[in-house]
């Protein structure tokens, strides 16, 4: 199942992402200096911490690498029925995770996703799904209790579910757009609190929370995209929320991650080209 000895540890530069110079990589971090040249848009994205950038998987992060084995771990993913969440579940299955649980609102998607995970999982891996809308605290708690009962204490929770509103002006007075604005906060902040609380009540001894964020939350105003105010504001709140959790729960390993610009169904329906993912687009 695992390959190891021949796996190159150095990544292969993928064809679509030419190596950029160190000069450009330093530009991003030095933009507060007035003498810094302004890079054009092509060199601005994605903001880089490393000179080499990727747009597809590569050997160093291959789930088949022995050092990345998830054997013995119980993983739960919100919004695991579609898009990035479903693919994350599949990757953990390939990494040999002992238990994988997904939840979301749409049972049909969850059934399809769980079946796909099953096809690449080890015979011994347990795969479970449960239907829950994370805006509903009772349902979310019940989902985590059900998954923990079936799979055991949860080691890693990947908070992936999100809601991307229809783009609207930040100062909109249209009642429907304002309701949609608030919907982003309900799912991305209130729902996140429900899910994280339920996770911690059903977690193993060394819990890990991976917060699937949106890079917009830390990019400068110049890099923002008009119309995404509700989404960005809610995702920024979500990041501060997980930092609050990290402060209060020393044993909790919290890390936030920008998933990249992946064209998911959620984004496509909104006509947005720089999305994150979540299953909340399904019925909206």
């Amino acid at each position: 199942m695992y390959f190891h000895p021949s796996t190159p540890l150095l990544p292969i530069d993928d064809q679509s992402t030419p190596r950029v110079s160190n000069h450009l990589s330093s530009v991003w971090h030095c933009q507060n200096k007035s003498t810094t040249p302004i890079p054009n848009m092509a060199t601005r994205f994605p903001p880089r911490f490393t000179s080499l950038l990727h747009h597809t998987s590569y050997p160093t992060i291959s789930p088949l690498r022995l050092a990345l084995s998830a054997s013995g771990k119980t993983i739960v993913i919100s919004g695991g029925g579609t898009g990035i969440g479903s693919s994350i579940a599949t990757s953990f299955a390939r990494a040999g995770a002992s238990n994988i649980g997904i939840f979301g609102r749409n049972e049909t998607s969850l059934v399809t996703s769980a079946a796909a995970v099953r096809t690449v999982a080890l015979e011994s891996t347990k795969v479970a799904y449960t239907v829950a809308d994370q805006v509903d605290a009772v349902a979310t708690n019940a989902a985590f209790e059900t998954l923990a009962k079936e799979l055991g204490p949860i080691d890693v929770f990947i908070a992936n579910a999100a809601y991307l509103p229809t783009p609207a002006p930040a100062a909109t007075q249209d009642p429907a757009a304002q309701a949609d604005f608030w919907r982003a906060f309900e799912v991305n902040v209130k729902g996140l609190q429900h899910a994280c609380s339920a996770f911690l009540a059903n977690a193993g001894e060394r819990p890990m929370l991976i917060n699937v964020s949106a890079g917009f939350v830390h990019l400068p105003t110049a890099a923002q995209v008009p119309g995404l105010g509700a989404y960005v504001a809610s995702k920024a709140a979500a990041d501060r929320y997980v930092q609050a959790l990290a402060k209060e729960r020393e044993e909790l390993h919290v890390v936030s991650v920008h998933p990249g610009r992946v064209q998911t169904e959620m984004a496509a329906r909104r006509g947005v080209k720089a999305p994150d993912d979540g299953e909340y687009a399904d019925k909206m």
Binding site: H55, L68, H218
Partner: protein
């Protein structure tokens, strides 16, 4: 645009022991893991690196 395989596989790395030093940080999946690992000491030595905060402050925690 990125293929969905990038965030999917990156999460597995992020959950592995290799990425334990990124506790509390914020990362992008596009960044090269080999280079991030090469900067492990630099990151661990600077608690404010790869975190969200106001730039230009001199006080450090």
């Amino acid at each position: 645009m990125s293929a969905v395989s990038l965030p999917a596989d990156f999460m597995v790395w992020l959950a592995s022991a290799e990425a334990a030093f990124l506790k509390g940080r914020y990362v992008w999946t596009n960044w090269d893991v080999g280079e991030i690992l090469a900067r492990k000491e630099e990151i661990s030595a600077n608690p404010n690196l790869l975190t969200m905060m106001l730039q230009g402050l001199t006080t450090e925690w």
